[in-house]
């Protein structure tokens, strides 16, 4: 259930809010218990606030429907909620088709009619019937439409946990449309589908599929990596960023500083991964005399480009592994993936990354070790089960501790700060008839116009500056020598104000529309708070419950209550919501 387009009467909303307060004030849920060990953790919510806090970690934001479902239908059982999420079907990205009905295009395969959401395979030079400043150009030659789907999923998809994990994996196993070579909707879509469909699956499957994915093959140049012209880009980054990292890790993520690989390993892994090329073209566009490159199907092997010699990885270390001579391209890939996937680094490396993206920037070694153990064995002897890993991340005692240590928590990245606000309070669009997709307006790539709100905050989805994502996992917390704060890598004197400005515009509904790229900008729906406007204390307490899961300090409360005493009605609600939502108490999720 989502909030879009739903209309409540004012009275119903009022009652709903009072009911909410009633829950907080007195009615208890089943007392919680969190087991320390094992993949069979059963965590039950201690309280309503505990439940809201869990959903903040696990979704794009706790809607009232989410909260009600977990609380009333599932009795506050987090484990059961995760079970449910694992069973929900994929909210997928469309696929790519060759549209033979286009007069200027011939297709290399039997024509499959494009579905309404599917992307056409277009030539790299736009044909004349896809001119600048048209929806065709916007949808196919920028990331706009893919971003629209991303935000639609974030705000409304029922498989919230998968969609969060999809976004996390997209930020670890990065490809980016900043690379002009893949800044086409049909070139990016299969990579997104692959991550989306496998996000709750097995990590080995992801590493394998990624290595045969044409978007990644282009982005990190593996399709140019041959026996005679080695290109080290993919081999280096699949180790550094996608699997084992730079240092030999203990299961708890600590390290004595020993590098996990050297240049010799990069050279030999490069040789191992040689010989992949794009699948045959999807068709040809006759008007522009250009082939329609195939970024939909897996890369295919080219034996002539493959180095068939012996390769030795991690020579001279306890991880040394030899890949024998004479294997095929496919066999070598499987050997490489097996070696990397089974390296003892992967559990702590990927496990810690997931903890940082979901729960806290500075997990304790014990927390990392627990998640690592779940990666190594999901309880049924399977390694790399991401469903088990995310369960361990969310149900760990450190995540579920409602009174965490001072260093616990994470700064909400721009995307999550906004989706959490919109889902928590509800949202509308001014005129749903303008756009059939009611959540189109957070897709904000606007190449020709002024920098968009997300570009201004340095998180333009699917367009990371480099394979190192928008922010670095090890970026230091400002002013600290011992803590990390990855999201602070893009939180500056400039972007911190941009964030507040965007919140102000979302709350007031004052973002300027633009016909093509921002036809119908989303705004918060504060109608549920309006009935409480007359009593500043009650209003602020409602915001405490909804946005801060009951954690508001007395200092913050009194500042906000005093600040809104000079305004009334809708303006009071906007100002109060602005102050709470832009406060560090909200911006840092704990």
């Amino acid at each position: 259930m989502n909030n879009v387009g739903t209309s409540y009467s004012v009275a119903q909303r009022h009652l709903q809010w009072l009911g909410w307060l009633g829950l907080v004030l007195g009615i208890s849920c089943t007392p919680g218990s969190v087991l320390q060990t094992g993949r069979s953790q059963k965590a039950i919510a201690n309280s309503h606030n505990d439940l809201v806090r869990f959903l903040e970690q696990a979704t794009y934001g706790p809607t009232q429907a989410d909260i009600a479902h977990l609380e009333q239908d599932l009795g506050g059982d987090f484990g059961a909620w995760i079970d449910e999420q694992l069973a929900i079907g994929v909210s997928d990205y469309p696929t790519v088709c060759c549209d033979g009905s286009r007069g200027d295009t011939t297709c290399a395969e039997p024509v499959t009619a494009c579905g309404p959401e599917d992307f056409y395979a277009f030539p790299t030079t736009p044909p004349s019937d896809c001119p600048a400043n048209t929806p065709c150009r916007r949808d196919n030659y920028t990331m706009w439409r893919l971003q629209q789907i991303f935000y639609r999923n974030a705000l409304t998809a029922p498989d919230q946990l998968r969609q969060r994990l999809f976004f996390t994996l997209n930020q670890i196993l990065v490809t980016s449309a900043q690379d002009a070579a893949i800044n086409y909707a049909d070139y990016m879509t299969q990579y997104l589908r692959m991550l989306d469909e496998n996000a709750l699956g097995n990590y080995r499957d992801i590493l394998y599929a990624l290595s045969k994915n044409p978007t990644m093959g282009r982005y990190l140049d593996n399709i140019t990596n041959t026996r005679t012209q080695p290109n080290e880009n993919y081999a280096r980054e699949i180790m550094q960023l996608f699997s084992i990292g730079l240092l030999v890790l203990n299961p708890d993520g600590t390290s004595d500083g020993t590098p996990s690989y050297g240049q010799d390993t990069v050279v030999d892994l490069t040789r191992t991964l040689s010989g992949w090329v794009n699948a045959p073209i999807l068709g040809r566009n006759n008007q522009t005399n250009q082939n329609l490159a195939n970024y939909r199907d897996d890369l295919v092997a080219n034996a002539g480009r493959h180095d068939t010699g012996t390769k030795v990885l991690f020579a001279g270390s306890p991880f040394e592994a030899t890949i024998p001579a004479g294997q095929t391209v496919e066999q070598d890939l499987n050997s490489a993936i097996d070696i990397l996937f089974n390296h003892s680094n992967v559990g702590p490396f990927i496990g810690r990354a997931l903890i940082q993206m979901f729960v806290t920037s500075n997990p304790s070694p014990q927390y990392v070790a627990n998640v690592s153990a779940a990666f190594n064995d999901n309880g049924q002897g399977v390694r790399g089960d991401l469903g088990a890993v995310i369960r361990a991340v969310l149900l760990d005692p450190e995540a579920r501790n409602e009174s965490p240590a001072p260093e616990f928590g994470k700064l909400r990245e721009p995307v999550l700060a906004v989706t959490n606000l919109l889902r928590t309070l509800g949202y509308t669009v001014p005129d749903a008839s303008i756009d059939a997709d009611p959540v189109s307006d957070l897709a904000l790539t606007n190449p020709g116009g002024t920098p968009t709100a997300y570009m201004a905050q340095s998180e333009d989805v699917f367009r990371a500056p480099t394979v190192f994502n928008f922010f670095s996992p090890s970026f230091p917390l400002p002013g600290s020598v011992d803590l990390q704060g990855p999201e602070y890598n893009i939180f500056s004197t400039s972007t911190s104000l941009s964030r507040d400005n965007l919140f102000y515009q979302i709350l007031r509904g004052t973002v300027a529309a633009q016909a093509l790229y921002r036809p119908n900008f989303v705004r918060s729906d504060l109608s549920g708070l309006l009935p409480l406007a007359d009593d500043a204390g009650v209003l602020v307490e409602a915001l405490n419950q909804q946005l801060l899961h009951g954690q508001m300090t007395d200092d913050l409360r009194s500042i906000v209550v005093n600040a809104i005493s000079g305004v009334s009605g809708a303006e009071r609600v906007v100002e109060a919501t602005f102050l709470v939502s832009t406060s560090p108490a909200y911006q840092i999720q704990r």
Partner: protein
């Protein structure tokens, strides 16, 4: 009234601590006499550094090319799409290197701007500089892996090491940031400004950089929409709260600095013409700050400023001809426009721009390869009126595969140059010009004691 930590960091107009009291409390001032002429322009006391980071690893082998010894270059690069023909080289003398070089000039790779600046004596190259822990030759490099910088050839590590001048172990602050802390003279405006986001280079414990957008009106750079006075007051009050959590204080400090600084950006100064490119716009933005040097800092002069700009896309594993060519063309034109602007502002002798990059790239490529992989020692550009230009400093590498300067060995050696010079020595030369004492130099460049030559000699320190 004791200033809050926020006020202290941001240096608001309501500063309760006098400059001298601050100096005493820090006990580390290296520059005196900065307060003697408060409220009067004093360009003679002003200096600025402009760091231009070329992200991805610029293949400097294709920027500073041997002319006399062109055959060395051709032997490794003949037939590559990005090979520069000798006929396309603008020849330059380099008295310190005893050979001549050439700067590329053709359809892509138009570096005539750099050439003109070099010939006029305002631009120099620093050759074969890299993340070097200590001076070493090839046998030492091969025999002592423990003396190498951490994670050689890794983008993220080499970027951090170049920006921090800390080549092994944890590097949580940058040399720009540490330099700012040594030279801070009570300026009432952030001494460091970045137009390219938050980076390690300007990270420090007490001196936090001001980050602004790379383009746009300066008086809109820190635009804050909520205008209602009660709301603004409440926002500031909220930023002063401390609920005992570490991450919330950090976010509050950043935003508080921003809100307290924005009042000083009242104008959008007019500066000269710059190319409408990424770097052109960034250097234009920096020029605006430089032009306000007598207006910022509460009406008194800025004594020192450190700027950070960036240009990305240099990781040319493929399509180097188009990509590097276009980037160097952009770099060259932007530098030329920037120097013209410094002259227009009568401040050319007081501003020095310099490039850094992750590393250079593999020298040898095959005939059909369209790009290069990661390497090490690279060549960098210094630009300014105080630069002793028209020369190349450091030691240009011997361009021999598996040769004395190649860290690769054997028949598959690809030419990854062992640096002759550490980027610590490079930075220390700039820092000395900037006014850091020898005693403080060890704090800014912790391993500078490893090198006999702590000043490469490319600056006029008079």
């Amino acid at each position: 009234m004791k200033p809050t930590r926020r006020e202290f960091l941001a240096g608001t107009g309501c500063m309760a601590l006098s400059g001298a009291a601050y100096a005493a409390s820090l006990n580390k001032l290296s520059l005196m006499n900065l307060f003697a002429t408060a409220n009067a322009p004093d360009d003679a006391n002003y200096k600025a550094l402009v760091c231009i980071f070329l992200f991805g690893g610029n293949d400097a082998n294709n920027m500073l090319i041997p002319y006399d010894n062109y055959a060395d270059y051709a032997a490794a690069r003949a037939g590559a799409p990005f090979e520069i023909a000798q006929a396309d080289l603008l020849q330059i003398n380099a008295p310190s290197q005893a050979q001549t070089f050439g700067l590329p000039n053709r359809t892509t790779y138009n570096t005539t701007g750099m050439f003109d600046l070099y010939q006029a004596g305002n631009l120099a190259f620093v050759c074969n500089a890299g993340t070097l822990v200590t001076q070493m030759d090839k046998p030492t490099y091969l025999a002592h892996p423990e003396l190498r910088p951490d994670q050689l050839f890794s983008h993220s590590n080499q970027q951090d090491e170049n920006q921090s001048a800390i080549y092994q172990g944890s590097n949580q602050t940058g040399w720009g940031g540490r330099l700012a802390e040594r030279v801070y003279g009570g300026e009432l405006f952030p001494l460091q400004v970045s137009v390219a986001g938050v980076t390690i280079y300007e990270t420090a414990i007490t001196q936090r950089p001001l980050v602004v957008p790379p383009t746009g009106a300066l008086n809109q750079a820190l635009r804050y929409d909520p205008m209602r006075q009660d709301t603004l007051a409440a926002v500031n009050a909220i930023l002063g709260l401390d609920d005992g959590t570490r991450l919330r204080r950090a976010a509050a400090d950043v935003k508080a600095q921003s809100l307290s600084t924005r009042g000083q950006l009242q104008t959008d100064p007019t500066v000269g013409t710059f190319p409408n490119t990424s770097l052109g716009n960034q250097l234009k933005q920096i020029s605006k700050f430089i032009s306000l040097r007598d207006v910022l800092s509460g009406g008194g002069p800025m004594g020192r400023q450190i700027f950070f700009a960036s240009l990305g896309g240099f990781d040319t594993h493929a399509n180097q001809n188009a990509n590097q060519g276009s980037l160097l063309t952009q770099l060259s034109a932007a530098l030329a426009a920037f120097y013209d602007e410094l002259v227009r502002q009568n401040i050319a002798n007081q501003v020095t721009a310099f490039t850094m990059s992750d590393f250079a790239r593999t020298f040898k490529i095959g005939a059909q390869a369209s790009g290069t992989d990661h390497a090490w020692g690279s060549h960098h550009i210094v630009l300014g009126g105080a630069v002793r230009g028209a020369d190349c400093y450091g030691t240009y590498p011997t361009l021999a595969l598996d040769g004395p300067d190649d860290t690769d060995t054997g028949p598959n050696a690809r030419g990854r140059w062992l640096p002759s010079t550490s980027t610590a020595q490079y930075g220390a030369t700039l820092a000395r010009w900037f006014g850091v004492s020898d005693a403080d130099m060890l704090i800014v460049f912790p391993n500078i004691g490893q090198f006999a030559q702590t000043d490469l000699g490319f600056m006029n320190n008079g």
